[in-house]
């Protein structure tokens, strides 16, 4: 059965980018305002799920030729190595460091190693969600 989903497809093309940018914003804003790696990752996944609903699995896989299992592994490695990195500075496992930097164009910004850890969380969440959805969706 072929349904007419022109409206959905057209709006999705725009909305997806809004969701994606919002998820990035949420991810970066996390340390001071609501958000963070977990929600950010989930939002990104939601965006991709929307694409999946509007188009089919094959099209989306062509758009994002990403191996989500690898993505999960990379995220996990990033998180573990951020946590483990502290032992090289002779402080206990998982000690974070942060400071304020004056960056060009961006002005005064605080940089935090928790950010790297959160990136790991983000990647894992996107990777896992998409792996699950893809493998269940592909199995028909």
């Amino acid at each position: 059965m072929k349904t007419n989903d022109v409206i959905l497809q057209t709006t999705t093309k725009i909305i997806f980018f809004i969701i994606f940018l919002f998820s990035i914003h949420i991810f970066f804003a996390g340390h001071y305002t609501p958000g963070g790696g977990f929600v950010g990752g989930l939002l990104t996944a939601t965006g991709i799920v929307l694409l999946l609903l509007a188009f089919d699995l094959k099209t989306v896989m062509n758009c994002f030729p990403i191996n989500y299992t690898v993505m999960t592994a990379v995220g996990l490695l990033l998180a573990v190595s951020t946590a483990a990195g502290s032992i090289f500075f002779n402080v206990p496992f998982f000690t974070h460091a942060f400071d304020h930097f004056d960056l060009p164009l961006l002005g005064d910004q605080s940089l935090h190693t928790a950010m790297l850890f959160d990136t790991g969380v983000y990647l894992v969440v996107v990777g896992v969600t998409m792996t699950i959805i893809q493998s269940i969706g592909a199995d028909e």
């Binding site: 609501p34 939601t46 974070h96 792996t131 959805i133």
Partner: protein, 806 residues
């Protein structure tokens, strides 16, 4: 550079092996590996002058400082002797393996990585002074032995033998760890040297005997003593270089090392003397008796190794007697420990050469079955000569080193019958008799091994290959060992002064203070002593029995097969596998709902009992905000949604209702000023509804006649229980103000300590980062599980199709 790091050289060399194997395929990888033991042997010989003066050296490296665990390399006479054996025999074995293992057909990188790993482990065992690191290396030898036995992992017997050896030795290792822990509780230290200093006080501790027995479990399993020896014959599935190295010269002697190392601590105990001597002697007799039943060349050698290890073990036990007699009264007691170490060295030389010869015979004729072999003397003259030297030495004949240590062994056993403590005056007379009978059998199996292979009639049609002499490279290592066997007979005191006496000093520090105090002189001729007459008896009876072997060897088949130790092991393994499988089948039903029932029941029982045991239940309605109108409405929506899930006739309705419940909860979060939670809840709901819709296709259809979920009393009770539990916890958590809330701590430190503004997120990534780390790990594992579940099911389908197509 401190020498503790030398232990790890083989391990680091192992890292290079795969690259060498891949990149330089023209040269046999063994040549590169050979450098490691040779260099180490050279380095360690420089310690010889030091230990000959009776001194020792130690070097340490902290491993886990917070727990006080460190690698301590302690080199005295005993550990240096073993170190030189490990590196020396190791070099010869690697050289031999270069010709034994074909570089194109075998997976050399695996072999040499395991072998080097073993070398590190074994060096660690004999040099560690810290008991925890000793245990670490001890188990590492078990693991590397497992890998090496299973080297030809496609053979069933290899895998079986590997698992069996690991099961038994790791069991012993764990027992030993228990003994170590008890010792550390008693002496408040993990250092063996410090424990030995405290020996007199420890002897009266109530845990003393327990720790002794537990440590002996470790030693007996590793050194294949009765009744744990059963793993060693099955370990012969390993490539022959491995058998020669691990299962005769080094690893199986780790147990002897352990006994020798702990002798100064336990020598005062009657238990120690009886257990070590008795088990050793029983093993000696048992092993030598059953060696004649074997028809596999390596099987004979395996049982012979078991029996020789028993011999050394019994000597070590007898050596402890000298603690009670002192050095003055009965001077013959002092021989036992010396004989033990001397025989240990001799055994390494002759048994190593015999194993290599067995490997050569296997390699050149294609079989190890002694019934098919025979008459190889003229075809393989060099191998025959070496086998003859090794075999005669094992039988205890002059002019080979085995004769000297066999004489000393008899001296040691004769001396036991004169010991008049611990009921040895009544039972002691058994010891020389058993020793004598075992020596007769040793004599017979030595002849059996050598002459059934090399003498007699050649049967070329039974052999898979045309028999011929081995390549020269393969003969070098056994020839070196064979030469040593002969040379040691003529210069025993050089070896005695250089290696044996410093080691004896480490075993019996209560008798001597320097190696020069040990006034033992080895000589081949003592005059017409009882030992000499016993040897004559061994030779005469041995020759008669060997002559008539074919008459009485069939008697071995009369032994019932149902009561052997192997059968016991097999049925234990079978029971544990089938038993655990049956047990888990009882509760692993394969239905998600059963597992949920277990989990919920567990949650109810644990929380409710904790609440009541700790008297934490409390209800107080102070500090409550009034319920607002729209909160009431949302709650009603929530209830309506939940009821819809339960009563819905189609699954689609249920899924949508579930989503509605989730979004309503998110609304609650919004009202209660928890934007982070609300956001997460919303997104999660969206995704899970999408997931449900995707998985919709896979779910079984609801039964037409049963379009409503049936009422089940048990499930209803559990559902009610979970609700009640959560309510009680929520009420109590609000009412109990025993401990101040942690939120104030977060509020104070979130900006100053953690450099963030959003407490929820800072908790996730910083305060409780560990939780998040493990959570994402669990997520990753779950996704792998789903991939496995779906993909494996797909391949299964394909396989079924393939079978049907055939």
């Amino acid at each position: 550079m401190s020498f503790v790091f030398f232990i790890f050289i083989p391990m680091f060399a192992a890292l290079l092996v795969p690259f060498l194997y891949k990149k330089i395929s023209g040269i046999h990888t063994g040549w590169f590996v050979l450098a490691v033991p040779v260099v180490l042997f050279g380095i360690y010989t420089t310690f010889l002058p030091m230990v000959q003066k009776g001194e020792s050296a130690s070097s340490s490296f902290e491993w886990v400082p917070s727990l006080g665990i460190s690698f301590i390399s302690y080199i005295d006479g005993l550990s240096l002797l073993f170190t030189l054996l490990i590196t020396g025999i190791g070099a010869l074995v690697v050289l031999y393996s270069i010709f034994y293992l074909d570089k194109t057909r075998e997976q050399l990188h695996n072999f040499y990585v395991y072998l080097l790993l073993f070398m590190t482990a074994m060096l660690g065992v004999v040099q560690s002074d810290h008991m925890i690191s000793l245990y670490f290396f001890w188990e590492l030898t078990s693991i590397s032995s497992f890998l090496l036995i299973g080297y030809w992992y496609k053979r069933d017997r290899s895998r079986f033998g590997a698992l069996k050896s690991m099961m038994i030795t790791v069991f012993g290792g764990l027992m030993m760890l228990g003994g170590f822990v008890l010792l550390s509780i008693m002496g408040d230290t993990y250092s063996i040297r410090e424990l030995i200093v405290q020996a007199p006080e420890l002897a009266h501790h109530e845990l003393f005997v327990w720790s002794l027995v537990l440590i002996l479990f470790g030693a007996f399993t590793k050194s294949a003593q009765f009744p744990f020896y059963i793993w060693l014959p099955d370990a012969m599935e390993a490539p022959t270089p491995v058998s020669a190295y691990l299962h005769s010269a080094t690893m199986v002697k780790a147990g002897l090392y352990l006994v020798a190392r702990f002798t100064p601590l336990y020598a005062s105990s009657e238990w120690w003397i009886w257990l070590v001597t008795g088990t050793g002697l029983l093993t000696l007799l048992w092993g030598s008796f059953f060696a004649l039943k074997q028809t596999d060349l390596k099987g004979i050698l395996a049982f012979s190794t078991v029996s020789q290890l028993g011999l050394i073990m019994s000597l070590l036990g007898a050596g402890a007697i000298s603690f009670h007699t002192g050095i003055e009264d009965h001077s013959i007691f002092k021989y036992a420990a010396f004989a033990a170490i001397f025989h240990l060295v001799n055994h390494a030389t002759f048994k190593g050469s015999l194993f290599m010869i067995a490997g050569i015979v296997d390699h050149e004729t294609g079989t190890r079955d002694i019934r098919k072999l025979g008459g190889l003397m003229s075809l393989m003259p060099i191998s025959f000569t070496i086998a003859l030297i090794g075999g005669f030495s094992m039988a205890g004949l002059p002019p080979f080193n085995g004769f000297l240590s066999k004489e000393m062994f008899l001296t040691g056993m004769l001396s036991i019958s004169e010991f008049n403590l611990f009921a040895f005056d009544t039972w002691g007379i058994l010891f020389p008799i058993i020793a004598w009978i075992a020596s007769v059998f040793t004599f017979i199996y030595s002849f059996y091994f050598v002459f059934r292979t090399f003498a007699g009639k050649h049967q070329p049609d039974l052999l898979p290959k045309q028999a011929h002499e081995a390549p020269i490279g393969m003969l070098i290592s056994p020839a070196i060992l064979g030469t040593l066997v002969t040379v040691i007979f003529f210069i025993p005191n050089v070896i005695g002064d250089m290696l044996v006496k410093p080691a004896v000093l480490a075993i019996q520090p209560y008798l001597y203070s320097t190696p020069h105090d040990i006034d033992i002189h080895i000589s081949a001729w003592h005059g017409l002593t009882p030992e000499l007459f016993m040897t004559f008896g061994i030779i005469i009876i041995g020759i008669i029995l060997y002559w008539s072997l074919s008459k009485w060897q069939p008697l071995y088949d009369k032994f019932p097969n149902g009561f052997t130790l192997n059968r016991l092991y097999d049925s234990l393994m079978f029971l544990s596998e089938v038993g655990t499988n049956r047990f888990s089948r009882i509760y692993m039903t394969g239905y998600m709902r059963s597992y949920l029932v277990y989990m919920f029941t567990g949650i109810i029982l644990l929380t409710i009992s904790t609440v009541f045991l700790k008297n934490a239940f409390d209800v107080s309605f102070v500090l409550l905000t009034p319920i607002r109108f729209y909160e009431l409405i949302i709650a009603l929506v929530l209830i309506a949604g939940t009821m819809t899930i339960l009563l819905a006739k189609s699954r689609l309705t249920s899924i949508i209702a579930l989503g509605a419940v989730g979004y309503t909860v998110a609304l609650f979060f919004v009202i209660f000023n928890a934007p982070d939670l609300a956001l997460t809840q919303l997104v999660i709901e969206t995704i899970s509804v999408a997931l449900f819709l995707l998985a919709f296709y896979h779910l079984p259809k609801l039964n037409r006649h049963e379009n409503r979920i049936r009422f089940r009393l048990g499930n209803a009770l559990i559902a009610f229980g979970v609700g009640a539990t959560v309510t009680i916890i929520a009420l109590s958590a609000h009412s109990q103000k025993l401990i101040p809330s942690i939120s104030s701590y977060y509020e104070e430190t979130v900006y100053t300590e953690a450099g963030g503004g959003n407490i929820v997120n800072v908790i996730l990534v910083d305060y409780r980062g560990f939780d998040t780390l493990f959570e994402i790990a669990v997520l990753a594992i779950a996704s792998l599980g789903i991939i496995g579940m779906i993909n494996l099911r797909l391949t299964k389908k394909k396989e079924v199709n393939r079978i049907e197509n055939k």
